[in-house]
């Protein structure tokens, strides 16, 4: 049976939904459909698009490679300071991205506490390089992998690990054959969310890696720069990000709608 809702809720809810939908509708309505292909296949756009995919996928890979073991430690470890470690790992999620960028400069910049050493010993420079853009995107997206994977690991009955140990499996083998397959859905969800976050990353990237076309200018940065001179071009690039975001929603539809 349908429950009647108070009229005030229906009105406020409708305004809320419209508020969320209108910007996307605006983009679609104002898009330069006539020359959209021309814009997107143009040199500036295609370079930014390719760089964006490269940076966001590499950042996702890094976030998974470092985030999943971290999530395992947080889920199963029994050490002091675990709560503090978790808070620290989640911090990039709530930290303003530009602050993250400034922080990354102090840590990994040419005169940063690790960056200077990195450059002297290994000859690696991160600022103003594509690697730097990957670092910035990894920084902001790793919490999403950790949160999702940790929730997954926690949902696994620890008796499975004990059972595997008794059956003769070393911890690494148990993790690979038993636990990771069980948490695969959460790992995929975390990776997809991390990828979406990495793809949209703006503040930390422009602060830490700069805005160099072909090297660190990802799609969001390109949108921002194009907007100063060519509004239609900016809309066209934005639409690409809208479409990629919708793909993320489709990929995660089961977890978002809560249905099977």
């Amino acid at each position: 049976m349908q429950r009647r809702l108070p009229l005030s809720f229906i009105i406020l809810g409708t305004i809320g939904a419209a508020f969320v939908a209108l910007p996307v509708i605006g983009l679609v309505l104002r898009a330069p459909w006539g020359r959209i292909l021309e814009i997107l296949t143009g040199p500036g756009a295609s370079i930014a698009l390719r760089l964006s995919l490269e940076v966001s996928l590499l950042a996702t890979l890094c976030a998974v490679v470092f985030g999943v073991p971290l999530a395992w430690i947080l889920a199963r470890g029994t050490f002091r300071g675990r709560a503090i470690l978790r808070a620290l790992v989640i911090l990039p999620l709530v930290l303003p991205p530009v602050v993250a960028g400034v922080g990354l400069l102090q840590a990994l910049g040419r005169r940063g506490i690790v960056g200077g050493w990195l450059e002297r010993i290994a000859g690696i420079q991160l600022t103003f390089t594509t690697a730097g853009a990957v670092v910035a995107a990894t920084f902001v997206s790793i919490p999403l992998v950790v949160l999702s994977a940790e929730a997954g690991f926690r949902s696994v009955d620890p008796r499975f690990e004990r059972a595997a140990a008794v059956l003769g499996a070393k911890p690494g083998y148990t993790l690979r054959r038993v636990i990771l397959p069980m948490v695969a859905p959460q790992l995929v969800a975390g990776a997809v969310l991390a990828w979406a976050r990495a793809l949209g990353e703006f503040g930390a990237t422009i602060t830490f890696a700069g805005n160099l076309e072909g090297r660190t200018q990802t799609l969001p940065l390109a949108v921002f720069q194009t907007l100063q001179t060519d509004q239609e071009g900016a809309i066209a690039l934005s639409l690409v990000l809208v479409i990629l975001s919708i793909c993320v929603l489709v990929a995660l539809r089961n977890r978002i709608t809560g249905t099977g």
Partner: protein, 360 residues
């Protein structure tokens, strides 16, 4: 003994200290209520409990061995089959973990599955199996790597009543053909009495009695032991009554018993007595005639197990009687009814301290 266990495990506030031994080809049932420490004891043997003390197998200490080197096969409660591996991969798991090649491990897994779970599809996921099938696969997995010790943890816990008899006979055959020490963890008297050579009773983290099912049935050391084997146990002071007759004064109620022939006629403290439930007769009207012990009380519970009913009575002292289900119907016994219970003095077996060796 080939397997000698004497371990202590701390679990927060409480300590579980368990000692027992199992011979080759012997099945020991580790029994106790939920929380008595059965599973902890099993985990200590398997090497996943963080225990102190010793576990010795064939004269070799296992305490410094990690779980994967102990050679102990466990069929876990609820199976604990890995949900993302097929039945075949589950059974091959201990072999693969020990470094056996994939094809050889699978061949061996198929062989064990063929013996223990011939009707189960090897490619099925565990989630699609029934409780009985899961248990069969778990047993196959426990045995696949040819362990030296076999541990079964509550093998019937997740099994439907109708699948139990078949699984029980499979377990009996499997246990009989396993040559090393065998341990069955259970809280179910029927499983323990039908599958085990010896019982080890655990209460609150301690062993309170060990013995064959018959030993425990005839001489239960504690109230739990008596309940477990389905016997009434009384404890109290034995005082002389008329010639050849005594009264056992328990905390709640008195029983008329036969005075032991050789016992000096004087009050004796701390006497225990057992009474088989089958020796108690129930009546709707007050019985007349020879029985010395007549009690009146309400029926608290009627539990039926295969043609026989166990009736818990709120008499003083409380009693458990066993009748055929036919008698229960004929007498019209149901929870809440007032009934009379009677038994002959001669049916009450006395255990007088110092008179008989202590069973503990």
């Amino acid at each position: 003994m080939p397997l000698d266990v004497d371990v202590e495990v701390r679990r927060g506030e409480r300590t579980i200290a368990v000692a027992f031994a199992v011979a080759d080809g012997e099945t020991v049932a580790l029994v106790g209520r939920n929380g008595a420490g059965k599973t902890t004891a099993l985990e200590a043997i398997a090497g996943i409990a963080g225990a102190s003390g010793h576990v010795v197998l064939d004269g070799r200490s296992l305490m410094d061995q990690p779980p994967e080197r102990r050679g102990i096969g466990v069929a876990f409660q609820d199976g604990m089959l890995f949900p993302k591996l097929s039945v075949l991969e589950n059974v091959a798991f201990p072999l693969r973990a020990a470094g056996t090649g994939r094809d050889r491990a699978r061949d061996r897994a198929r062989e064990v599955l063929g013996e223990l779970a011939p009707t189960v599809d090897p490619n099925a996921r565990p989630g699609t199996l029934s409780g009985g099938e899961r248990q069969r696969v778990a047993l196959a997995r426990a045995l696949a790597a040819e362990p030296k010790v076999l541990l079964l943890d509550e093998p019937f816990a997740a099994v439907d009543a109708e699948a139990k008899p078949e699984l029980r006979s499979l377990l009996r055959r499997t246990l009989a053909s396993f040559e090393g020490p065998r341990i069955l963890v259970t809280h179910d008297p029927v499983e323990a009495m039908t599958l085990a050579d010896r019982l080890v009773l655990l209460e609150d983290g301690r062993v309170t009695q060990t013995g064959t099912p018959d030993d425990v049935r005839h001489r239960p050391a504690t109230r739990y032991a008596a309940e477990f084997v389905g016997t009434n146990l009384f404890e109290g002071e034995l005082v002389p009554d008329e010639e050849g007759v005594g009264i056992l004064r328990t905390g709640g109620g008195e029983l008329t018993v036969v005075w032991p022939e050789h016992l000096v006629v004087a009050p004796v403290a701390d006497v225990r007595a057992t009474l088989s439930p089958a020796e108690i007769a129930l009546h709707r009207e007050e019985p007349h005639g020879s029985p010395r012990n007549i009690f009146r009380g309400a029926v608290e519970e009627v539990a039926t197990v295969g043609g026989r009913a166990r009736i818990r009575l709120r008499t003083v002292p409380p009693l458990v009687a066993e009748l055929t289900t036919g008698s229960v119907d004929r007498l019209g016994i149901a929870p809440g009814h007032e009934v009379w219970a009677s038994c002959k003095a001669v049916e009450i077996r006395l255990m007088v301290p110092g008179d008989e060796p202590d069973t503990l």
